[in-house]
Amino acid sequence: MSALTLFLTRRVDRVILYEHAHISHVKVDLQTKVATRQRILTVAARLFARVGWERATTRSIATSAGIAAGTLFNYFPSKEAIAVALISDVLAKAKEEFEERRRGGESLEEDLFSYIWTGLRYLQSSKTFLGCALETLLSPLARSSPDHPGELIRTEHLETVERLISCHHRVRQPLSALTLQLYWTLYFGVLAYWATDVSPKQEDTMALLDQSLKLFVASLGEEASPLTEASSLREKTNESQG
């Protein structure tokens, strides 16, 4: 396990999964809990889209979902946490599609492109509120802390990226914080651009993502060297067997 993985794992351990922590004492059956959670998310997504990120409040979400504000806090401690849950759910589905579509033989650049673009495609319906919430949730300038609502998304995303890099490159040393920061800054830049991109079929974002990833992969040069085709295949086999 690389130092980065250890680092991220520790952070994940420390991430408070709010919904679990807060609802443990609520004596409702699991099925009801899941249904209520889903209702909150559906209502919140609708409200974010209709009245905007700024004007949607936890109170208005609770009212629309037909529950008390206090009950909502048993599930989500803040509006940001609701947004994170919405985004995480969507990104999980996108990741499934990405994994299914991998043919083997893709370059790192291709894999990263597919992973991110599939995510953007799935996030399309959340685009309006995500644009506003982006700065709060994912900004690379935000102080990183396990309590930060966007930390879960960031951690999961970076873990996948690290796994993809290790599929293609022999990592000579743990990826530096600088490399991770560079990646996250580029990713955030693409997200921020995408959120307000009015070009037809978002072709400008597509070009920006392509260029950003070329830059990132080129920057890996000193930290990681590409695996040969045979060793790459071996790594992938090990990965799937593992």
């Binding site: 370059s107 291709e110 492109f113 079929k201 400008d204 597509m206 392509d210 070329k214 830059l215 080129a218």
Partner: protein, 477 residues
């Protein structure tokens, strides 16, 4: 090894005659231009964008700079200093741009800024004057096709080659097989390129801003507008599909000229799916050491294709070697119709005049110059100007008036044309109707290719067979 820009500049005799006050500016400019090739570029694809066609870019830039200087030649020293500053800033901005360099190359051609180097180098350079989009990997293509056609290549096609088999000027071409079993070529445009070019042309206008007070500014402005209009059309594959359909209807099967069929269901503004035409590119064809007879046959087909389209109101305005395929059964494939200029009534009238002027009647020639180059009574008193235009006209008509097959492999013919253009540019006789931007390019492009093919073509007979006044669709059509 590629010659340096400074070598080209030094080779220009005009640079030897500049007054001493200009020498420092000249040195600065040389340094700046030479610096273009040393600039590091961090990204792989950008590097490709930068390095391919580097020589032609530098040549175009060098001539562009020279051309701008000519405008200020008679100005006061103070004005010249301002101009030098503007030029330095302009060229620095140019280094920061991507596709503008491509646009600039085309403007370079517009103004006839051809390097007076040996013809083979000239031909190679001309051949490379086109845009070069970054390469696209399969994941990007898949998403592009999904957003353009609503499904990925796996769903759309029976099979789809993940590696491009050819580079298109604005993207790349992939082989695929339709569910019906037909092999097709799928041309896919790099995302966002159309608007990038738009932005670059806007910047080009800004670069040309210092010229606005010059007496010929209006002609420059109209020429740049024409380049912009054509570049916009080049990025619109729906327009190209329409041109392909029209061109396809112009040739019958016995003529040995093939224009691919468009598959509309798989085509959009950014994706063009066409029948696949197997064949060799010019270099590969020449490597087979073809007989003179075969060269002549292909040369005649190339000329006929251009002529037929010309008289149908469509100028095949980008005749470079990547657009022709030499097929095994001696047929000629035409595969790129992005840069086809359509003529309207005004252009048709100019062509009618040009046809008539081939007779050599002085009053017709005078009328042609008046309308094509906007010569007024004062200009007509300038013997040198009129003589240069007359010689250029004569050069253009030479193969048409020649009895029997014309030898396009004759170096002197091509060199003469280049020298005439350079002569006109040096004297700043660059006024012309905007249609000549691409008309000149098609004439030089085709003759450069026929030179490489060393073809002998009976142009006079072809013209006699084909000649009619074009009645093409409107320019905006």
């Amino acid at each position: 090894m590629n010659p340096k820009v400074s070598d080209f500049i030094s080779a220009l005799s005009d640079w030897e005659n500049v007054p001493d006050t200009d020498r420092q500016a000249r040195e600065n400019l040389k340094e700046l231009l030479a610096g273009l090739s040393r600039r590091p570029v961090p990204v792989g694809s950008l590097h490709r964008l930068w390095s391919v066609g580097e020589l032609s870019t530098q040549i175009a830039l060098a001539y562009f700079a020279l051309w701008i200087r000519q405008w200020f030649r008679s100005a006061e020293t103070g004005d010249r200093a301002v101009m030098e500053t503007n030029l330095r800033v302009a060229l620095k901005i140019c280094q920061q741009l991507g596709y503008l360099r491509g646009a600039l190359m085309k403007v370079g051609q517009t103004l006839g800024n051809f390097p007076d180097i040996v013809p083979s180098e000239f031909v190679d350079t001309l051949d490379r004057l086109h845009f070069d989009a970054p390469p696209m990997h399969f994941s990007l293509l898949r998403e592009l096709l999904r957003s353009e056609l609503g499904a990925g290549p796996e769903e759309l096609f029976e099979s789809f080659e993940t590696k491009a088999f050819a580079a298109a000027s604005l993207g790349q071409v992939h082989l695929a097989r339709l569910q019906s079993g037909e092999t097709v070529a799928v041309k896919i445009q790099y995302p966002g390129i159309a608007r990038t070019i738009d932005a670059d042309v806007r910047n080009l206008r800004a670069l040309l801003f210092p010229l606005r007070l010059g007496k010929d500014w209006e002609y420059v402005r109209r020429q740049v507008e024409e380049v912009h209009r054509m570049l916009q059309l080049e990025t619109d594959y729906e327009h190209e599909a329409e041109t392909l359909r029209r061109a396809r209807g112009l040739f019958n099967s016995g003529e040995g000229i093939v224009v691919p069929e468009v598959h509309e269901k798989y085509s959009t503004k950014r994706v063009l799916t066409m029948e696949y035409i197997p064949g060799l590119l010019l270099d590969n064809f020449l490597a087979t050491n073809p007989s003179q007879e075969l060269r002549n046959q292909f040369g005649a087909k190339m000329y006929l294709a251009s002529l037929r389209m010309y008289y149908a109101g469509m100028n095949y305005a980008d005749p470079h070697s990547g657009n022709y395929l030499f097929m095994g059964d001696d047929r000629l494939g035409l595969i790129d119709f992005g840069c086809v200029q359509r003529y309207g009534d005004e252009e048709a009238e100019l062509i009618r005049l040009a046809e008539e002027s081939a007779s050599g009647r002085p009053e017709v020639l005078r009328e042609l110059f008046r309308r094509s180059a906007n010569l007024d009574d004062v200009d007509f008193k300038n013997q040198e100007y009129v003589e240069l235009l007359t010689q250029s006209h004569k050069w253009t008509c030479e193969p048409i008036q020649h009895e029997g097959p014309f030898d396009f492999g004759n170096v002197e013919h091509l060199q003469c044309g280049i020298q005439l253009v350079i002569g006109l540019v040096r004297k700043r006789y660059t006024r012309s109707h905007p249609m000549y931007v691409y008309f000149n390019r098609s004439v030089f492009g085709l003759r450069a290719l026929l030179y490489r093919l060393r073809a002998h073509v009976d142009v006079k007979t072809l013209h006699r067979q084909e000649a009619r006044v074009p009645s093409g669709p409107s320019l905006n059509g």
